[in-house]
């Protein structure tokens, strides 16, 4: 599986690198005796801080490497594997750099933003592991565009049948064909659209069939609209899962830019008031 290769890439090469880095940092921290208490200003603190800052910059470079299609500098898969493991190692490296000193200042803000980036990244790995398989299973082997084509066909057939029926049914079918697949931005997070015209149409047609008796055109129309509704629901479930699969990046990337600015401020301020 492609996504498994992300973690298993080159037989866990970058997991080993990250583990070495973490063990080395922890070992150095345990061995080192600071002049006062552990803090970012000891020689070990400066070393861990430099490693952490360089790591953060390199991790942000992934966004550029990902879009450099002609680049031969490693593979994007390899870069991503390294990005994940070395990003995780930052939790330890940066925490040791702080010497466990936290306060209401921009230094701890940078640390918190970094943790936000890393945890949103962990969320990303999780959704990229779990969701794509579910998404392919959702559509029965079809693509979303094929489903869209199917919806158009159903609309054409429904209009043809409704043209022989009452005008209110024609209007119902028309409104059903205009049904929004996803209502609003928030609708993307739910698989349901409140007041969906297609659902209404199905309801109305079912009532009519019961009341007036199920004539063939009415039955055909009902079947068509019912199929439309189930296909709409399929697309909506798919969209919901896709949205949740995309959401983590809306945190991961902006937070990393906030981190970039705060990290710069952290480094400048430490030497501004040395």
């Amino acid at each position: 599986m492609l996504h498994e290769n992300l973690l298993k890439f080159a037989s866990f090469r970058y997991l080993k690198v990250a583990t070495l880095l973490v063990l080395g940092s922890v070992g150095a921290y345990l061995w080192h005796t600071p002049r006062t208490i552990p803090n970012g200003g000891t020689w070990l603190g400066y070393t861990l801080g430099t490693i952490g800052a360089v790591l953060i910059l390199w991790l942000m470079f992934f966004g550029l490497r990902k879009r450099a299609y002609r680049s031969r500098l490693g593979t994007v898969k390899g870069w991503l594997s390294a990005h994940v493991y070395l990003g995780l190692s930052l939790i330890v490296v940066a925490t040791l750099h702080t010497g466990f000193q936290f306060g209401w200042n921009i230094h701890t803000l940078a640390y918190a933003l970094m943790l936000g980036v890393i945890f949103s990244g962990m969320w990303g790995v999780y959704v990229y592991f779990r969701n794509p398989v579910l998404m392919s299973g959702m559509l029965d082997g079809k693509t979303v565009q094929q489903l869209g084509g199917s919806l158009r066909e159903i609309d054409a057939q429904s209009r043809k049948i409704a043209s022989n029926l009452s005008p209110d049914l024609q209007a119902l079918v028309q409104r059903s064909s205009e049904a929004a697949i996803v209502g609003s931005l928030f609708g993307r997070f739910r698989a349901q659209v409140i007041g969906c015209p297609t659902r209404r149409a199905v309801g109305v047609l079912q009532q009519r069939a019961k009341a007036e008796g199920a004539s063939k055109p009415l039955r055909d129309l009902l079947n068509l609209q019912f199929r439309r509704l189930s296909q709409l629901d399929e697309i909506r479930s798919f969209v919901k899962l896709k949205t949740w699969t995309d959401l983590w990046l809306l945190f991961h990337v902006p937070l990393s830019f906030a981190l970039l600015a705060t990290l710069t401020a952290h480094i400048v301020s430490v030497f501004f008031y040395w």
Binding site: T36, T262, Y273
Partner: protein, 530 residues
């Protein structure tokens, strides 16, 4: 299947295929906000306050709210700032190469940051004593991108002593050190001297294990560790009084150092287990009867005649009929008192009977001398002068002064204009002045309160006052190990007894722990007192 480009379903599907948008806007937005709040505003308000104020002036509506706030914040900061040292900080070699502004001869810190906006940069709590200026960063961080300079520290700590006298010249490895080489703030509420406690010992040996490399002209011997490589103690001895020139002499086993005191005082007699005769009967004396520890636990109240000796060694003048004593003062004063006493007695025709009972007089005689009762001179033939002279001779040469002092007859008349000037004159040899025994270290007696004085000072065997009873290093090594732990011994590093800043004088505090370090930050005229 072909379909129209503007088919709404196709359009919606296309839209839904795109990833969630807003990343770019959010990224830029957060980046700019973070950069402004965390970097640009603090830098501007710290270093470009004037330009900021001009800009605020220009923005309508902002000026009337923000400018008064800026002014009040600045006033609050300035009000809390310490007064600059009255005199300019002492010149010393350090790597301050920026000429600091002087106001009337004192160094003044740069103006505070506008609105204190740099407080977002504060990385941690300051030492307690510095917390009044916790948000006034410029008090210490006066120049951007430079470490805190010695000038900044000396604004308040003007009289902190150097480790080596500046007159001694350049010392390799020391002259390029600044305050911040050893003292770092923002590490918690501990004082900056206390925070170094566990670190001090290690640093000292760096230079002191081969001290000649750092300072070829030194008299100090190499020291690495108290247990393994520490020279025998040196004691500061004074030469003959009154010049009392001080030198430091190394103790040696089997040899007792002596220092001229001008006094006769046998410790062994006074501390005898059998007790000693006193006006109140036999008393068993102990060290604390004469050596009273001061509240700081470091030094003793100077032993003096009035408080510690006179209750037994009375300077009685006619003991058979009164409790009167001559003053323990200069010779002319004593002779005057005698002269006036006998003149009074002659005028009155005798001494009225004493209202209070006569206290018992102890007669001190040297071994072999006959016990002679003190005589009364009131009925002696001759005039007042003869009686006073006889009484003076007896006091000076037999019963009182000579017991403790070196007394010699002096020819000639006494101090002109005093009643006693026509009496025989004596000279009392000057007594040694009180001085520090081990000036380069600090010893806390209260910390050793559970030890007997005689564990370290062999006073009960001492026959002469001249004997120096200071202990050798072996005595201390009984209990104190070096920096490496040893079973049943106290792990001791350099900082336990020595301070870095000289002189390591009395601390103002009564704290017992690490007085050497505390005292270095609290010299008597230092800026802060705990």
């Amino acid at each position: 299947m072909q379909h129209k480009e503007d088919d709404p379903i196709t359009a919606q599907i296309k839209n839904l295929q795109r990833p969630l948008g807003g990343r770019r806007l959010l990224s830029w937005g957060l980046f700019v906000i973070a950069a402004v709040v965390a970097l640009l505003l603090p830098v501007a308000s710290s270093e470009h306050a004037d330009e900021l104020k001009v800009w605020v002036h220009k923005v309508p509506g902002l000026a009337e709210h923000v400018l008064p706030l800026m002014a009040s914040v600045e006033q609050a900061f300035l009000a809390r700032r310490p007064d600059p040292a009255v005199k300019a900080p002492a010149e010393r070699k350090s790597h301050d190469d920026i000429h600091a502004p002087l106001v009337g001869g004192a160094y003044v810190s740069p103006p505070p940051t506008l609105l204190g906006l740099d407080r977002v940069w504060n990385p941690g709590p300051l030492a307690q004593a510095h917390q009044p200026w916790a948000n006034d960063c410029k008090v210490c961080h006066s120049v951007p991108f430079k470490q805190v300079m010695d000038k900044d520290c000396r604004t308040c700590h003007a009289t902190i002593g150097d480790h080596v006298d500046a007159k001694a010249g350049e010392v390799h490895g020391l002259s390029d050190r600044s305050c911040t080489s050893c003292h770092q703030d923002h590490q918690g509420e501990f004082g900056l001297a206390t925070q170094n406690l566990h670190f001090v010992g290690r640093d000292c040996a760096e230079c002191h294990r081969d001290i000649k490399r750092a300072m070829p002209a030194t008299h100090t011997e190499n020291v690495a560790d108290f247990a393994t490589q520490h020279p025998q103690f040196r004691v500061q001895l004074a030469g003959p009084p009154p010049a009392s020139a001080l030198t430091r002499v190394r103790l040696a086993p089997g040899k007792t150092l002596e220092e001229p005191t001008g006094l006769k005082f046998p410790h062994d007699v006074h501390l005898s287990a059998k007790g000693i005769d006193s006006p109140k009967g036999t008393v068993r004396m102990e060290c604390a009867n004469c050596h009273v520890l001061q509240p700081d636990g470091l030094r003793f109240v100077p032993t003096n005649m009035k408080d510690h000796c006179q209750s037994c060694h009375a300077l009685k003048l006619e003991p058979q009929m009164s409790n009167r004593e001559v003053p323990h003062g200069p010779v002319p004063e004593v002779l005057t008192a005698l002269r006036e006493f006998y003149a009074y007695v002659a005028q009155q025709g005798g001494l009225p009977a004493s209202a209070e009972p006569l206290t018992r007089t102890i007669q001190i005689t040297r071994p072999g001398e006959p016990q002679a009762l003190p005589r009364s001179f009131i009925d002696l033939p001759g005039g007042v002068r003869e009686r006073a002279a006889s009484a003076a001779t007896e006091l000076f040469e037999k019963t009182s002064c000579v017991v403790c002092h070196e007394v010699s007859r002096e020819a000639g008349a006494g101090l002109a204009g005093t009643p006693g000037s026509d009496l025989p004159q004596w000279k009392i040899a000057p007594v040694q002045s009180i001085h520090e025994w081990m000036p380069k270290s600090v010893f806390n007696h209260t910390a050793h309160a559970n030890e007997a004085c005689t564990d370290c000072h062999q006073a009960e065997h001492s026959k002469k006052a001249a004997e120096v009873l200071m202990p050798r290093i072996e005595v201390c090594r009984d209990c104190h190990a070096g920096t490496a732990p040893a079973a049943n011994k106290i792990t001791s590093d350099c900082g336990l007894c020595h301070g870095f800043h000289q002189p390591a004088r009395l601390p103002v505090t009564a704290k017992l722990t690490r007085p050497a370090l505390l005292s270095s930050a609290h010299s008597p005229d230092g800026a802060t007192a705990r």
